[in-house]
């Protein structure tokens, strides 16, 4: 489906294909997405089950020279509910939109530098009043926050940041990005979208704290060693009354942690950190993406479908409200893979329905990520367990 603004200056289209043949699926999805003329950007969200090179080739065939960016997923989010095994393409076009793409490779170990490199693309777009930098990062990179810091160091507060970390359907063997007409790993792909009309971001999580705050009493190397002077992993599990096997079994801990992020106190609320990817049963420490420093106030968190779907609503509401009264021509919706784990198959269908309700007839596209990017205030913008929404007017 494709929706354009009333004057026909900007349009967004989304197409999806469940076809088993990658190239066919890619061509079908791209053709459905590119309905308007003057396509400026094609974003591909591709199931890990597909051959990424063939997917890129198929989309490029339709793109007719427009840049193609994208990544592999842990599920593709679009109209009709989230899907697995599909190829989903979002296209943006029209004279009211310009884009510029940059790619940084060999990012591991130089995250901040890579973030600064791709920020340069923000200057290559036409001088239009609204801009957003969409970042797609390799979900297997550590310290993603530093990529954003690098970007922020170059752009400052001038450009909001949005995006997500690529996923691999929970296989944990590696994900792929599309950029610079290539399939990439250990990379960051950045797209600056400049528009005549507003671009607005919403981001929310649906978890609440359990009990009193626990203080990080020892941390180093990005890991929390102790909470309230107790081994961090045990303090966390005890507080939540976790099942016995979560203390000793890796899978059991992962399943439990997916639904129970660790909250870190911030001025405007409590930020949720996913503890399920860097498990250390032997050392009894906790890892939550970027570093949580000594002295930080933390809480174990929990959430259910209700609170998570409330957050879905809030993120969409915030994003659309940010358009200053204009109607969106489309939404990008990046939801956390951990939310999918918490909600289950039925839950994510209901999440999809909420998104569809908020889209209210305009196209939307996104994927289940290994991390969401949304800098709307302050300098931080890498999130766990959230839904990040970009509303395009």
């Amino acid at each position: 489906m494709t929706i354009a603004d009333a004057a026909g200056r900007r349009w967004m289209g989304v197409g999806s294909s469940p076809h088993g043949d990658t190239r066919t699926a890619a061509v079908e999805a791209a053709r459905s997405a590119v309905v308007g003329t003057d396509a400026k950007l094609l974003m591909v969200f591709c199931a890990i089950t597909h051959d990424p090179a063939a997917a890129l080739e198929g989309v490029r065939e339709v793109a007719a020279g427009a840049p193609v960016v994208g990544c592999t997923t842990h599920g593709e989010i679009g109209k009709g509910g989230p899907n697995d095994g599909t190829i989903l393409v979002a296209a943006l076009g029209g004279p009211g939109i310009t884009v510029s793409v940059a790619v940084a490779e060999h990012v591991a170990g130089r995250q901040r530098e890579a973030g600064a490199e791709v920020a340069q693309c923000a200057e290559a777009v036409a001088d239009l009043p609204y801009r957003v930098l969409v970042l797609l990062t390799d979900g297997f990179l550590r310290d993603q926050e530093s990529i954003l810091r690098g970007t922020y160091g170059v752009l400052g507060a001038t450009v909001p940041l949005f995006g997500g970390a690529s996923a691999d359907g929970w296989r944990m063997t590696g994900s792929f990005l599309f950029g610079d007409d290539r399939v990439l790993t250990d990379a960051v792909v950045a797209v600056t979208i400049a528009s005549e009309a507003p671009l607005s971001i919403g981001v929310r999580h649906g978890y609440h704290t359990v009990g009193e705050a626990m203080i990080v009493t020892s941390s180093s190397g990005g890991r929390i060693h102790s909470l309230d002077d107790r081994p961090a992993l045990d303090a966390y599990l005890d507080r939540l009354g976790a099942p016995g096997e979560a203390y000793t079994d890796l899978e059991a801990f992962r399943d439990f942690a997916l639904a129970h992020p660790l909250g870190v106190k911030r001025r405007s609320g409590v930020e949720a950190r996913n503890l399920s990817t860097e498990i250390d049963l032997e050392g009894r420490t906790l890892g939550g993406g970027s570093a949580i420093d000594h002295g930080a106030l933390t809480w174990p968190m929990t959430g259910g479908e209700d609170t998570i779907l409330d957050a879905t609503d809030a993120a969409c509401r915030d994003a659309i409200a940010g358009l200053g009264g204009r109607s969106p021509i489309g939404l990008l919706t990046f939801s956390c893979a951990a939310i999918r784990a918490t909600l289950g198959d039925d839950g994510i269908r209901r999440e999809g329905q909420r998104l569809e309700t908020w889209a209210d007839g305009v196209p939307f596209a996104g994927f289940y990520t290994y991390g969401e990017i949304a800098r709307t205030r302050g300098i931080d913008g890498f999130h766990n367990q959230t839904l990040a929404v970009l509303a395009v007017a």
């Binding site: 752009l155 507060a157 001038t158 420093d293 002295g295």
Partner: protein
């Protein structure tokens, strides 16, 4: 936010800031980290640290577009807002510190909320933490620099002391060698002193002095060494002697890796373990005649300019010793009889004159071989020469080291027995000589024998060397006349008879 929650959040954030800033070891990174952490704690888009009117770190502005003057205006309390690109006008707040490095922490945030009293207090607390941390970092850095400087100085001193010690050792070795040269120690002994000293100073496993073989100049022979056998090693082509050949070719110090330029014989001798070698040319009277080599089995061995200088110094000493030894050789050859090595007539007379002039007694034995000429004519000059050489050796074998034997040409020999004033000693020696010289000689399968006629004279009976020579000569003729193969003692009667005869 309740008061206690706000307070605990402040404490948390100050602790976090402290943790962040303390984790950096250099000031620039620490200041940048602090600015980021302050912005994060206050959820502010902008944070800056200024020293005086200079921006030390800033986040939130596009790169290269940090408005220093506006930040300073906030720091100086002249305004409480900042225009930040991409944002609406931001609330701004600054906390300053004085001391030796005064500075400001400036925060700006978009949105409607102004900074609460707690937040202002937090910014002040952060500024204080930053100031303390920076002071500590600077103190640590100053201490570290001092420590590094003193460590560096200590290392330099140690190197200097070591270098001086080595120079001193080099000087000691060189002066020993030069004393040896001036004392006319045997050449081999001097050369061995050089190789031993070179090993002591350079510490390598192998030291070798190679010189051109006199008969095959394109080959070199190992004269002295440490770590290589000298006796069983044949002369080798120069091209197979490694760095030595190259040093001789280029007339300069050469360093060679592994078995560069080395032939199979040396490879075998060193068991394939040679890692690096260095050689300096040695000269004799200005001509390149060989090379002094050092070589190591240590893969880490590296020859410094200092090592090269040391080797060059030893090579020069070898050159000096060789030149000196060969000059001496030439001088000796000028005053000695070429065939037998005994003193020639000139040297003999000189020594005899010196002995008499000093008032010291001596017995002179004048020796003439009997039947030498017919043997020389019959068997050839080579055989004759051989008889002369054997005779010279036989004469030498009967003398003390202080005595002097000379050959006066042809088949005439003379012996000076130093400090002998009695005829008895002269007679004893003469008797032995007659017997010894007369023993048969095996010449190419033929046995021949020559006798000696010896005249004995004492210096006490002569006024000078010439007189003494004449006396002994007269006595020798008497011995010949009396039947050869015998000795006669000079007497006044003989002198009378001689005068009468002539």
């Amino acid at each position: 936010m309740s008061q206690s929650a706000a307070t605990s959040l402040q404490v948390q954030q100050l602790l976090e800031l402290l943790a962040v800033v303390m984790s950096f070891s250099d000031e620039q990174t620490a200041v940048h980290g602090a600015a980021e952490r302050a912005a994060q704690a206050l959820e502010a888009e902008v944070s800056a640290v200024m020293y005086g009117d200079q921006v030390a770190a800033a986040v939130g502005f596009p790169a290269g577009a940090v408005p220093a003057a506006e930040l300073l205006a906030v720091a100086d309390g002249k305004r409480d807002w900042l225009d930040v690109p991409g944002l609406e006008r931001c609330h701004a707040f600054a906390a300053s510190w004085n001391g030796s490095h005064p500075g400001h922490l400036i925060i700006a945030r978009a949105g409607d909320d102004t900074f609460s009293p707690e937040e202002r207090s937090l910014v002040r607390g952060m500024a204080r933490v930053l100031e303390l941390t920076l002071t500590m970092l600077r103190t640590l850095r100053a201490e570290q620099e001092m420590r590094e400087r003193s460590e560096l100085q200590a290392v330099e001193n140690a190197m200097l002391a070591e270098s001086l010690r080595e120079q001193q050792r080099l000087l000691l070795h060189v002066s020993d060698i030069q004393r040896g040269i001036s004392r006319r120690d045997p050449l081999q002994q001097i050369l061995e002193a050089v190789t031993t000293a070179a090993q002591d100073l350079l510490g390598d496993e192998i030291i070798g002095l190679w010189v051109r073989d006199p008969e095959t100049p394109e080959r070199a022979r190992l004269l002295a060494s440490v770590g290589l056998p000298t006796t069983h090693l044949p002369a080798m082509p120069l091209t197979e002697t490694g760095a030595v050949g190259e040093a001789m070719r280029g007339n300069d110090v050469v360093v060679a890796a592994g078995y560069e330029y080395v032939g199979p014989a040396i490879r075998e001798l060193t068991g394939g373990r040679l890692c690096v070698s260095m050689a300096a040319p040695v000269h004799e009277s200005g001509a390149i005649v060989g090379g002094l080599l050092v070589a190591s089995y240590d893969p880490e061995r590296f020859y410094s300019p200092h090592d090269k200088q040391t080797l060059r110094a030893f090579a020069q000493n070898v050159s000096l010793a060789l030149t000196d030894a060969h000059t001496l050789d030439r001088v000796n050859r000028a005053v000695h009889d070429n065939l037998t090595g005994l003193a020639n007539r000139g040297l003999f007379l000189q020594r005899l004159t010196e002995q008499i002039r000093e008032g010291l007694p001596a017995a002179l034995l004048f020796i003439d071989l009997d039947r030498f000429k017919p043997i020389n004519d019959a068997l050839g000059h080579a055989a004759g020469d051989q008889i002369l050489v054997i005779t010279a050796a036989r004469i030498q074998s009967q003398l003390r080291s202080a005595d002097l034997a000379g050959r006066f040409g042809g088949d005439e020999f003379a012996v000076m027995l130093r400090d002998v004033a009695e005829l008895g000693t002269g007679i004893t020696i003469a008797r032995r000589l007659v017997h010894e010289i007369g023993r048969p000689v095996d010449l190419a399968g033929r046995t021949v024998s020559v006798d000696a006629s010896i005249g004995i004279a004492l210096s006490v009976d002569a006024s000078n060397a010439a007189d003494l020579m004449q006396h002994a000569d007269i006595a020798m003729y008497r011995a010949k006349r009396n039947g050869r193969g015998r000795y006669e003692v000079f007497t006044k009667d003989l002198m009378q008879a001689y005068t009468n005869d002539s």
